[in-house]
Subunit: 207 residues, 2 copies
DNA sequence: TACCCAATTGACCAACCTGGTCAACTACAT
DNA sequence: ATGTAGTTGACCAGGTTGGTCAATTGGGTA
């Protein structure tokens, strides 16, 4: 029962959510400390456990909440409407990179939720995470222009490998950016290479 | 001073090293437990601290040791001799995947050493890890056949992006394999796609 | 056999941290 | 002045941590 939490004023909610997000993202579920969370949020221990019955309830609430945040911001992007599938893939990767830059803690949170093996929590995370992946994958194939492909090309397979290589590449870029320059936000330099790559693929796959 | 440790019989050394490797790989430095290590290794607490003065000394010894293991097995591969740079890149990625499959704990260990931020250990890890990366990167460009490239192509840049995309792709593959089928070892199916990719790149970049 | 010394044990330690509780206090509306 | 909802933080028992050290074992030597 989190109804008590939902009735307090927005600013305090945000403060608590962000504090918990940061702690869980950094340490994972098991090693995150509720003491650290209340300290960061600037509230007392008792109050946190007044809003949430226990640590697990807090975590699950967070998980659901930030899935929603991502869904709303990510999927309402016009970039998913681009008819050319390769261009669309490129756009999605750029979008993802921008989101990772904007909300690094959220991504860390989900990664740790996915990586963390030692806790009973994992089973309780409903399929929402998996669902998020599935629906993003489905969106890639939604209303694409298939007339351009050479007839002898296995389209799905081609798109899939391009998706994977691009995802891999963007991960490399993010990793690089994370450890070096933290100020820039557009990645235009990094993704210039991708443009070349995309053009190349088109000439290879399109008739 | 680890001289005591180096004088005991090989089998016991291995047992201790592997126990420590597993624990550190799984939990990272901070949360790894020396109790768990001695239990896993089948020795007493006192003995471990007879060989190593403290936890940190054990960890640093491990780090050095497994860097050596990787160096010896990885770099003595004839795959680095392949003259065609794209084929070489493919070979290296396959090699890396095979190594990750063969020694998952070692890779987890290094990843956790690189990721773990909260400890004073990180600073003490000499540049050996970074060095390993550098030398593997240098080996890619060693004695490659440059005559094939079109004149107007920025060769280094081209190789670099291919390297990154391939690395990204192989990471995706490993991630997939890790979470599904744990028995197979050759990845031939997964890397068939890469062959197509490599051929495509050659026609694009070579004259 | 008696002795020595190195290898090995594991009970023990103080320090610390954990999630969670609850009696008490505050602020504010009636 | 009274009631009530919001909020505090000292406190708890349980657990884990890295590290110590007196005691035991076992094999070699004389």
């Amino acid at each position: 029962m989190t109804s008590k939490f939902l009735n307090i004023d927005e600013e305090k909610q945000q403060r608590i959510l962000n504090a918990a997000l940061n702690e869980f993202a950094q340490k994972g579920y098991d090693h995150a400390s509720t003491n650290a969370i209340v300290k960061l949020a600037g509230i007392s221990k008792g109050l946190l456990f007044h809003y949430f019955n226990n640590k697990k309830e807090l975590y699950l609430f967070l998980h659901k909440h930030f899935i929603d945040v991502l869904q709303n911001e990510f999927f309402n992007e016009e970039r998913f409407a681009e008819p050319d599938v390769f261009e669309r893939l490129k756009n999605i990767m750029i979008l993802k990179s921008q989101m990772m830059k904007k909300y690094p803690e959220i991504f860390n949170f989900f990664i740790s939720a996915y990586t963390e093996t030692s806790s009973d929590i994992k089973n309780e995370l409903d399929d929402s995470h998996h669902e998020l992946m599935q629906s993003s994958y489905a969106k890639i194939f939604e209303n694409i222009d298939t007339t351009m492909f050479k007839e002898n090309i296995d389209m799905k397979r081609a798109i899939q490998i391009v998706f994977w290589t691009l995802e891999g590449y963007s991960n490399q870029v993010m990793e690089k950016v994370k450890h070096t320059n933290q100020s820039d936000n557009d990645f235009s330099a990094e993704f210039a290479e991708v443009d070349l790559y995309i053009q190349m693929l088109k000439t290879a796959f399109y008739q």
